[in-house]
């Protein structure tokens, strides 16, 4: 991520639409997440207030494939959305290249592990 100082620099750096695609993804996933996440919160915290988080309740709910898919979509979209969002912050605040590379590596690994963990968890019920 050298800043372009000449046109050639700029051209080298601008061959991909990655940033544009992420930008669009953030908006599209955000739109979908509004329904998924707010729905999720409403259902789990507000509606089923008393007994929601007990082991049985969770297991019972998640044995329904529709709910499985619903929750998996949340997992997938919000992790990706959140990971990319956090990448913005990492790129903004961590200004030395080696540090940034380290932080990103660790961070993406954590996200990947959590994603795998969550997926396995969902499937295995």
């Amino acid at each position: 991520m050298i800043r372009a100082r000449t046109f050639t620099d700029a051209r080298q750096q601008s061959h991909s639409n990655a940033e544009l695609n992420w930008w669009i993804f953030m908006r599209v996933s955000g739109l979908i997440l509004v329904f998924l996440v707010l729905g999720h919160i409403y259902m789990t915290f507000i509606q089923v207030s008393e007994s929601d988080a007990t082991f049985d309740a969770v297991v019972a709910k998640l044995s329904n494939p529709a709910w499985k898919f619903y929750d998996w979509m949340i997992l997938f979209l919000s992790l990706l959305h959140g990971a990319n969002g956090a990448r913005y912050s990492i790129e903004d605040y961590i200004r030395s290249r080696p540090n940034r590379a380290w932080v990103k590596t660790i961070f993406y690994t954590v996200i990947a592990v959590v994603f795998a963990f969550g997926t396995i968890g969902l499937i295995s019920i």
Partner: protein, 253 residues
């Protein structure tokens, strides 16, 4: 009623309204100081004075070693962007009455995100480097006609705002992203790119959009609006940045 404004500036001392001000300036001289420190100066000024007049007054008659840039004195050269009472402004376009009352305090700091060389004067090179990175010049290699290239009034209006920029850096140095991430080209460079991207006569739209489409280009903008609020030329900067974003999106898809 409007008369009084006009004449307060130089009417005889007895009738002139004067206010007392504390001017608190963040000072730094690399030859003698390890870090910046605040100095406060008590001065008198008229409410209709420019903050630049106040600074000049301090420099000329109290503290000659106070350093800042200035030239035109009326908001056209872009020399004197400073962080005045919490916001980026041109000292020459800010009147005392806009930022302080009698007995009040005006704080003056250098603009942020650029290296402070001395007192209120910062290193502008990185700012101009970003400017140069967007190919800030008209490109149309097809042979020019004998007269002018025609352009409709409507097309000319497209450049009304962006061509008005004086490169003062008020915007870029008010952007919370730029403060932490100097690689961001910044709003001023984007405004300049907009100037050419939306010029119906220019032929390098595609290249400029490509530059804007990098990690350091428009996508770093988080629509914080500080730039728009700070611009002394009233350029609707965020709107222009959004226009560039959309132009990239529609061109690439």
């Amino acid at each position: 009623m409007t008369q009084t404004h006009a004449n307060s500036a130089a009417a005889p001392a007895t009738t002139v309204e004067m206010v007392n001000l504390n001017v608190k300036i963040l000072r730094f001289n690399p030859e003698t100081d390890k870090k910046a420190h605040w100095d406060t100066y008590q001065v008198q000024a008229q409410p209709s004075d420019r903050v630049l007049d106040v600074l000049n007054n301090i420099k000329w008659y109290h503290e000659p070693s106070l350093i800042f840039r200035r030239s035109c004195g009326h908001g056209i050269c872009g020399s004197d962007a400073m962080l005045i009472s919490g916001r980026n402004r041109l000292a020459c376009k800010t009147l005392v009455r806009d930022v302080a009352k009698d007995g009040g305090t005006i704080t003056v700091e250098p603009i942020r995100g650029l290296k402070v060389e001395r007192d209120l004067l910062v290193d502008m090179e990185p700012f101009f480097d970003s400017y140069k990175a967007i190919m800030p010049y008209f490109i149309n290699e097809s042979p020019a006609p004998a007269g002018e290239r025609y352009q409709s009034e409507l097309d000319a209006e497209r450049m009304e705002h962006s061509s008005n920029c004086i490169l003062c850096a008020c915007c870029t140095t008010s952007c919370p992203i730029f403060w932490v991430n100097g690689a961001y080209l910044g709003p001023a460079a984007i405004v300049q790119a907009h100037r050419f991207i939306f010029d119906s006569r220019d032929e390098a739209t595609h290249q400029r959009l490509n530059i804007m489409n990098q990690n350091t280009g428009v996508w770093r903008c988080r629509t914080a609006y500080n730039c728009t609020e700070a611009c002394p030329r009233d350029i609707p900067i965020t709107t222009l940045i959004e226009e560039v974003k959309r132009a990239i999106m529609f061109q690439q898809s």
